[in-house]
Amino acid sequence: MAVIRRQSKPQREWPMLVEALAAELRSPKKGHPILVIEEPVRGVPRFQTTVVWARWADVPTEDRAGVILDAYEQALGAEKMLQVSLALGLTPTEAKRLGIK
């Protein structure tokens, strides 16, 4: 049996994730390792966003939504960020488990 002890990355790395995600939101590229899925909420000017990204592996679940919201604000402005009604950060493995492609 192998024992793998992973350590959470320190929070000071979150700004780098925000920066990288904001860059992708500003100008999405085909084949980029970040996949962003936006779905509108029926009847209201809100949308849900799911960000599939391998780099979430080191980020606790409760911190991921904050990173996503900061990236939206940085890339697309506060107004757009405030329209998010669900900010979900998933690793590709987690996304696959949930049936998200």
């Binding site: 409760e62 960020m81 009604s85």
Partner: protein, 159 residues
């Protein structure tokens, strides 16, 4: 994982618990703690409902939505660490979100909400869960009345 539906159910359950505790001992800090918890759950559930957060979502992982709403409302900074148990902050987030959704809370309900948040905040803080002090009988009564108001007006708060 807790959803906002769990918050709703917890609010209703904890109000009953508070009632039982207060009936058994009229000066217990436990009853006041539970009463405040009812208000906290009601405010969080109402916020997520108004926001359009899906019922299946892990609400605990979406608290950043609440924090950003409060910051956008001009209360606290997006960088400062929020206190997700602060009833004033939670009520401001709800009022802000309702305005943004184009359905601001009616005047009577807003006045009622602000009054209950003020009254409850004067005697409740989340640290009461560690408290072993006896409280005034009148404080228990106030907390209980406020919690009852929150639960009774929950439909109006998120409608």
């Amino acid at each position: 994982m807790q959803t906002w539906k769990d918050y709703e159910l917890a609010a209703a359950e904890r109000l009953v618990d508070a009632q039982v505790l207060a009936g058994a001992r009229s000066d217990t800090s436990g009853a006041v703690y539970l009463a405040g918890y009812v208000a906290e759950m009601v405010l969080k559930a109402a916020f997520f409902r108004v926001k359009g957060t899906p019922v299946s979502a892990n609400a605990g992982s979406q608290l950043a939505l609440l924090h950003r709403a409060v910051s956008a409302a001009g209360w606290g900074s997006a960088k400062s660490r929020p206190d997700y148990h602060n009833l004033d902050m939670l009520s401001r987030a709800l009022l802000f979100e309702r305005s943004r959704a184009g359905r601001p809370l009616g005047h009577a309900h807003e006045v009622g909400l602000r009054r209950r948040v003020r009254d409850l905040s004067a005697i409740w803080k989340v640290d009461l869960r560690y408290s072993h002090r006896a409280l005034q009988k009148s404080d228990v009564g106030t907390a209980f009345r406020c919690a009852t108001w929150f639960l009774a007006n929950y439909p109006a708060l998120h409608a």
